[in-house]
């Protein structure tokens, strides 16, 4: 059959030009992010600072090297992590609207953070903990990852009884509310200073991560991404549903655990360091599927990383509106950009198709 025979390179990364285009966009977004901010630095100067060691404007050099490069790195890492977290949730729950934020996993991570920040009312604030260096950051990250994993296990347990997508999402929202309520109770009994710190943290920020924290952040995100990539074959099998996956030799329980591990690492650490950032997780996997017209996770995972990075870099650039002295919290920008995208997706597909 000629049609069948012509399909040889089908599963190879389709369309090199798409990748090339995405990488160009990524570089563009990166440069835009580096030059944007309260102090506007021309692109030429950014290049100069990045690629030469000769002295230029010392202030600009300091701003780029100490503030903007770490912030851009954080944006790239968080963009990758949130998108992959969303992709994994959508495949695992076979639900096109699943996302760490929607299913309460981000809320779980927040509870973990709140537990560390507000515990007993006498613990130091997040920033103070971060000041402690490595140990404190690990503590917050660990708590957030545990919180995320806990909620995720719980949601997964419930999801086995529920086949309906909409019901599952509503359950996720309810779990989210419960978790947030628990956090609020904790806030209510904490002293105002700590609550203020916590509230600022909930707005989300890509700027707070530098030095040793960036190292920890990078390690956890890379670990999560590596696990995600290695589990891409499992994710492919799960697209057919549990029974078929099992019949093809997948140990579904182990696969679930691996995926939960990866998502918790990603979402937990991002929530700990940058605050709860929404909407990227829903939108990016759909964009990746649309761009590469595939369901193959070996292609979708890198694609989500690149597209997620581009989007978060752009959102961050918007947050530091050029020339403006104030910086919008990143969470607000992703919501403003992401929510309309999700509405658009819903209108286009008209109904929630189960996977």
């Amino acid at each position: 059959m000629s049609i069948a025979q012509n399909r040889t390179a089908d599963q190879a990364p389709s369309g090199l030009w798409r990748w090339a285009g995405l990488f160009l966009l990524l570089i563009g977004a990166l440069l835009l992010d580096l030059s944007a901010g309260a102090v506007r630095i021309p692109l030429r100067e950014v290049f100069h600072i990045l690629f030469t060691s000769s002295a230029g404007d010392e202030t600009w050099r300091f701003i780029v090297e100490r503030i903007r490069v770490p912030k851009a790195c954080t944006a790239v890492l968080a963009g990758c992590g949130l998108s992959i977290g969303g992709l994994q949730m959508q495949t695992l729950f076979r639900n096109p609207l699943a996302e760490p934020g929607v299913l309460g996993i981000t809320a779980g991570a927040s509870l973990g953070v709140a537990a560390v920040m507000l515990a007993g009312g006498s613990m130091a604030t997040l920033y103070a903990i971060k000041e402690l260096g490595g140990g404190g950051s690990w503590m917050v990250t660990g708590a957030a990852c545990l919180g995320a994993a806990g909620v995720m296990l719980f949601v997964l347990m419930l999801s086995r009884r529920v086949r309906d997508n909409v019901t599952m999402l509503i359950i996720g929202l309810m779990i989210s509310s419960i978790t947030i309520a628990v956090t609020s109770v904790w806030q209510y009994f904490s002293n105002p200073e700590e609550v203020k710190e916590y509230l600022i943290w909930t707005f989300g920020s890509l700027g707070g991560v530098s030095g040793g924290q960036l190292l920890i952040f990078t390690i956890t995100i890379v670990a999560g991404l590596v696990i995600a990539f290695l589990s891409s074959k499992m994710l492919d099998a799960l697209l057919l549903g549990e029974n078929y996956a099992r019949s093809m030799g997948l140990t579904v329980e182990r696969a679930r655990l691996v995926i939960i591990c990866s998502t918790s690492l990603l979402v937990g650490s991002i929530t700990a360091f940058c605050g709860p950032i929404g909407f990227l997780g829903i939108a990016v996997p759909h964009l990746a599927r649309g761009t590469f017209n595939t369901a193959n996770h070996r292609i979708l995972i890198p694609a989500c990383c690149v597209i997620g990075s581009i989007l978060l870099l752009l959102c961050d650039s918007i947050a530091q509106w050029p020339g403006s002295q104030t910086v919008l919290p990143i969470n607000i920008v992703t919501s403003l950009v992401g929510a309309p995208m999700v509405i658009f997706l819903l209108l286009r597909t008209r109904k929630l198709k189960p996977f």
Binding site: A4, D236, S247, M248, R298
Partner: protein
Amino acid sequence: MNSTPLLVTRGLQTGYRSGGKKLLVSAQLPELTVKAGRLICLLGPNGSGKSTLLRTLAGLQPALSGAVEIAGKAGLSSTELARQISLVLTDRVGGSNLNVWSLVALGRYPWSGWLGVLSDADRDIIRRGIDAADIGDLLDRKVHTLSDGESQKVMLARALAQDTPILMLDEPTAHLDLPSRIRLMRLLHRLAREMNKGILLSTHELDLALQVADEVWLLQSAGPLHKGAPEDLVLEGVFEAAFEKEDVHFDRATGVFRIYPEGGRRIRLIVTATARGAMAEFWTRRALQREGFAVVEEEAGDAIVIGEQGGRPIWVLDAGGAGRQYNSIAALLQALDHLRLP
């Protein structure tokens, strides 16, 4: 034909465990074997445990007791099992953005490396599955746009790509129209013969099963499992007995189920020598049964004589002394209807 058993069960009992309790679905089953090159149909009413048995044999759920030996071994690892048995289930696959080619290619899962990269040999096998199931023109379609019939063929191609000696299908003919059902059964029969696969399928299509199955396993709700060649089971009266319990009459003479209960009115059917061997008798009998007549051989009050005139059948109704002639079954039935009126 190779007759090594691919799968043998020993003292198998299927069912579910809930809490500490065992919920039996089947009684202790006899030794069941699946052999290469044979097509087995698993029949039984709804709720008789067809799917449970299939899932247990396929290793999707544990047996309550007993063992399933596949390729001479019990307790295979999940990958080993996936290289022996492929499944076509009733589960609906929507697949976000999954196209048909990728779905069929997923059949290579138990054979490909840990990242799932396909080799040329894998592609050859996938292509053979696609050709066998004849879905070459569907490859670029998204899975969720397929019709039920197409979807069934695609899932079959995926199972063929898994390249296993045993193929199990759970109600593959459900949701299909009649031609698709027949084509699918014919295809499965051919696969068993040509690719020497052991095929086990559960179905409600008794008449189709009687035609294509090499062996029938008949499950009854709370009864023993009967197995054997379909014709043997019919002759032994097993079908009749099994379905009598469900208040459905299986007619051994014709091999079909009788929908209408046999009525009280008796009528004799006489076929003249010239019309013998034509199909008229068979279809007249069906029409009379639908109208609630019991067709009898011995002398009864009324009789119908089927004759032949100019190459076409004619019916003479011999009732109440008068004999009138009709050119179609419809006209005959109408006349019978009038007779019934006082």
